[in-house]
Amino acid sequence: MKRWMMVVMSVVLVMAVGFGLVAKPFVIAFMPGIADPFYFTMEKGAKAMAAQLGPDKVQLIVGQYPATWGPDAQVPLLDALMARGDIDLLFTAPTSTQALIPVLKKYHDRGIPIITVDTYLGDGDYTKASDYSFPLSYIGTDNKLGGEVVAAQLAVLLGGTGKVFLENTNPDTSSVMDRERGFRQGLLGFPQMELVGVEYCLDNQETAQAQVANALQLHDDLAGVFGVNVFSAQGAHAAVAAAGLSGVVKVGTWDATATLIEALKNGEVDFILAQKPGEMGSLCVQWGYEYLASGKTLSVPRKIVPGFFVFTKDNVNSPDSQQYIYSK
């Protein structure tokens, strides 16, 4: 009789614990780097994956988008998010490779697993031992590789020869500087191609437009332009189109906003290298959930590179490619 009671009790207990687990989903937090279409799209991907897994399994909390790029804008918002105390896992785009190390380390030490997305800590290599190797994983684009891809794509369009110009945004931001490095690296493979100038628009589209217009003025044989992010790309294509040189001067851009997709359809932009922010967000939630569900024992790849999607006039209208357009 007594034994029977024990059995019933333990069954009830196990079920209670089980229901408790079911009733309380894992809370995954996302802290974006800056308010821009790239991170909005990432949020969208993460939300989709969270919905797919079900609200009983994952609850996604999105932190406030910092208004400017930099640890001074991001860290207070991140701290405020983490102070909620109900977060089981954090994925974030660190806005500084060094400033965020102690900040994220603190949360890691409290038992909260960290995934860095799009940008990384230190040099991004979490496999070797270092003071920044604690994150679970880095999920993000290889910006340098992307730069090389753009260089190669431009070279194909230009037949491997001609002057090109790089419209960058802010030398202070590591990701766009990696793109610049990759682009320079990629051009080395084409000795006939020459990088005639680099300008920084500081995230102002009008400035970018003026700078590219000037570059066209300065080099009347300019053959191609690469705009490294939303603002520089939009400014670059507007300048080329305004000069009536669309199609003559090849425009390659990074980040697939609706504006740039429209320009591609109009023939004002020749190709767009899209990162896969939606996929990154989705992967973060998926891996994060599986890691938590396994009782933090699952071995997660230390680095995941979702790769790129290159929009061209030929594939821009195909149904498959629509998922890579940035949207909210």
């Binding site: 909005f40 102002n204 000037n214 003025q217 189109a241 504006t259």
Partner: protein, 360 residues
């Protein structure tokens, strides 16, 4: 003898004062000369048109700001009002276009909604300043945040795309085109080779023409009308203006609405120029650049002085400096230093020349 020398002194002082007043213009001409000699590509019609195109929004923002500064106030909200209007206009144009409305309706409805919307922040600023005696700096700084927040709210932070095709056609149009191959035409000639395209002489970009018309109107209003006179009177001495029977509150309200409306015009023009509705970025500092242009143009932040003509010179000075330094290959950061020095220098020069006592 004594009288002669006194008259001579007055004359020379007057010349000196004139020079001092229009130093910005002289500096501009000097700068054009230096840059033209330094870089071979600077001296060309296309480059001047680039300078003008790059300054289009700043022209409008600074012209509106001129009225406010002359009245003795300051308007910090204009940059974000521009962004708000730009986003809203673009949304209206996009949605009407998607709903199948005709191009003309899309564009005119979008522009109208934007311009009407732009009156509201100015009216609120004006009411806060005139009825509730909130300092202009604070009232417009508050609006700075609110307009920015609303722009985010409306756009979701993404640039607005898929506008009617007339938008970019207008934004990139020139008044006329001439080339040896295609002759003169009002529509852009259909050319394919680079040589042909580059050989086209393009006469005055349409946005520049529109802005020029706006500037002429605004300049006329400030210099020649009673409205303008009253603006100077209020900036010169508020009490005197009140005693002279000017309805100062009403007038200041109008000034802030006008400034906001100019920002709205800039926002609508920006839609055409960029073929997108974009938010004003935090780092853009349009309001500070506008104030800088107004001051370089000879206005005083204590009010009562300034002109549209001076402001135009100020904007051109900044635009030319940016363009010229870029042509010389200097990085953008050096331009911040150059503008800072010119700004302080402007006021110092202004202070060191005597007042022009007698107007002729």
């Amino acid at each position: 003898m004594v009288i002669m020398s006194a008259a001579g002194e007055v004359r020379s002082r007057r010349v000196l004062a004139r020079v001092g007043r229009s130093w910005a213009l002289l500096a501009l001409l000097l700068m054009l000369l230096v840059f033209s000699l330094a870089g071979k590509e600077f001296l060309s019609l296309a480059n001047y048109s680039n300078i003008l195109l790059a300054s289009v929004t700043l022209f409008l923002l600074a012209a509106g700001e001129t009225f406010v500064v002359v009245s003795g106030g300051i308007d910090l909200s204009i940059g974000f009002v521009m962004g708000l209007v730009c986003v809203t206009s673009a949304i209206v144009m996009r949605d009407l276009n998607a709903a199948g409305a005709s191009q003309l309706i899309c564009v005119s409805a979008g522009a109208t909604v934007g311009l009407v919307l732009s009156l509201i922040p100015g009216a609120i600023n004006g009411l806060l300043i005139t009825r509730f005696r909130v300092p202009p700096f604070i009232a417009t700084l508050g609006m700075w945040g609110i307009a920015n927040g609303l722009a985010w709210l409306f756009s979701g932070g993404l640039p607005i795309a898929f506008l009617p095709s007339a938008v970019h056609k207008i934004g990139r149009a020139y008044v006329g085109y001439y080339s040896t191959k295609a002759g003169f035409s009002f529509a852009p000639p259909q050319l394919t080779t680079r040589e042909d395209i580059l050989s086209v002489v393009k006469i005055i970009p349409v946005p520049v023409l529109i802005v020029a018309i706006c500037l002429v109107v605004l300049g006329f209003v400030l210099a020649r009308t009673r409205f303008g006179r009253h603006t100077y009177a209020i900036g010169g001495k508020m009490d005197a203006a009140v005693r002279a029977g000017i309805d100062v509150r009403r007038h200041l309200l109008k000034v802030y609405v006008l400034s906001s409306f100019c920002a709205g015009c800039a926002g609508v023009i920006l839609v055409f120029l960029s073929n997108a509705g974009s938010l004003t970025q935090f780092t853009s500092n349009y309001e500070l650049l506008s104030i800088a242009s107004v001051v370089i143009g000879g206005a005083s932040l204590t009010g009562g002085r300034g002109s549209i003509w001076g402001t135009v010179t100020g904007v051109l000075l900044i635009g030319t400096l940016n363009n010229g330094l870029m042509m010389m290959g200097l990085q953008i950061f050096y331009r911040f230093i150059a503008i800072g020095i010119i700004l302080i220098g402007a006021v110092l020069i202004d202070r060191s020349f005597p007042e022009l006592l007698y107007e002729d």
